[in-house]
Symmetry: C2
Subunit: 255 residues, 2 copies
């Protein structure tokens, strides 16, 4: 594998830092190439600005139009281009973060906001139909992605009927809306619950479980999200009646 | 109402900017007090750092512990304290943003990451039971919140069976996990779909609809999220069998 490991935690001495060090080492020991984006260490700027596209700060900013123009002209800001190069190089993307307010820390959300520009991860058109390639097909087709996240809450409260909401569904905006959208194959997330107080035994067990997940990543069955162009959706991109009949909500987009 | 209007768009000349100007003006014309946090105009820093809590950057950072200590000692970074004061003053919070990758722009996610510290919006304990006050009760009880968001996709694709996932569920990490968690009453989001190309008539209709939502905000029936301590959850905070029997996922946390 050629893995890009994107990591967002303010302290390398944290549980997240330990798991990152462990995971990267395991991959390298097994002959895989790893590049890293340690967003805090890089002092990554997560804010989309006129500057990203070389636009005059006093001009009207249409993010989609300007980002596509800058992508095509090679004039995206240098930090974005460097990350694009790493992502183009990789066949596997690992996205690791502590779950903050049921989502990514801002520094990581802004990695996607700034990198996933028009023409790169969205607005990639099929030349035949003129339709946007999305959900199972798109600018990042052929790559695999795995989310690693740590959660203070326990397995019960983040489980299927737990008060915080079933974690797989809480992560849907990332797994489905951000990773599957541009065509990446997304495997089930690696979740560490009860992450605030972990014994050495629990840590060792978690590290072992991570080792297994990383080494089996190429063959792990992906989350069975439906493909935009697989026939399950009608011409308005609404799920056809015969699938998940009578149901609504996030869950219906898995087969 | 005393409304804090938090707004995150890089360009004030955008649709979002126009709706913000309109909404703030409507509230003021009707005698309501409005304070604003225009995050781009403020050049808001969305990244949680050691600095937030006055910690040595070379020290091990336990965010929950250090944030609570800094809150209690009044030593949170000045920009956080200023926003806390605005939020304490408000009885109503409006959170407005363009939906980017099915979530908030990073600059706004980091407003919550940095403000919602331990002892303020989480880890607020009930002195009798020692249990954390959450979901319908907590540090921000008594305030109302409304999300305003613009989406490029149309109403069908963001609807109950649309390919992007039902938008109310996509917003669950914000509405339930961030606003309802610390005890705010959350009304249904104000959503503008097909936001990329809007005619003048469509804009005027949207602005009119926003006026109505704002002026009826105090009496709008909230999203019927279940209360942590309302009896629907068992002692492990798992939804009792008799509610939404046999179902799982995000949707079961509405009554």
């Amino acid at each position: 594998m050629k893995t890009l490991w994107v990591y967002a935690h303010p302290d390398p001495r944290s549980l997240n830092g330990a798991l990152r060090d462990h995971g990267v080492a395991v991959l390298r020991e097994h002959g895989h190439d790893v590049r890293e984006s340690d967003l805090y260490a890089m002092d990554w700027d997560p804010v989309v600005r006129h500057d990203d596209f070389g636009c005059d700060p006093d001009s009207r900013l249409d993010v989609l139009t300007e980002s596509q123009r800058a992508l095509e002209n090679g004039t995206l800001r240098a930090d974005i281009r460097a990350e694009h190069d790493k992502l183009r190089w990789a066949d596997t993307l690992v996205v690791q973060f502590p779950l903050w307010w049921f989502g990514m820390p801002a520094i990581l959300k802004g990695w996607f906001d700034r990198l996933f520009v028009q023409g790169f991860a969205q607005g990639v058109l099929d030349p035949t139909t003129g339709r946007a390639r999305r959900y199972g097909d798109g600018g990042l087709t052929g790559k695999r992605a795995m989310v690693i996240t740590t959660v203070g809450a326990n397995a019960a409260t983040t489980g299927p009927r737990g008060i915080h909401g079933e974690l797989d569904e809480v992560l849907f905006p990332l797994t489905h809306g951000t990773l599957w959208y541009p065509g990446m194959t997304v495997v089930p997330p690696f979740v560490v619950t009860s992450a605030l107080a972990m014994t050495d035994d629990e840590y060792n067990e978690t590290a072992k479980r991570l080792t297994e997940r990383l080494l089996t990543l190429p063959d792990t069955p992906p989350i069975p999200f439906r493909r935009q162009n697989g026939g399950d959706y009608d011409d308005h991109l609404v799920l056809r009646d015969e699938h998940a009949r009578g149901e609504t909500g996030i869950g219906i987009h898995n087969t």
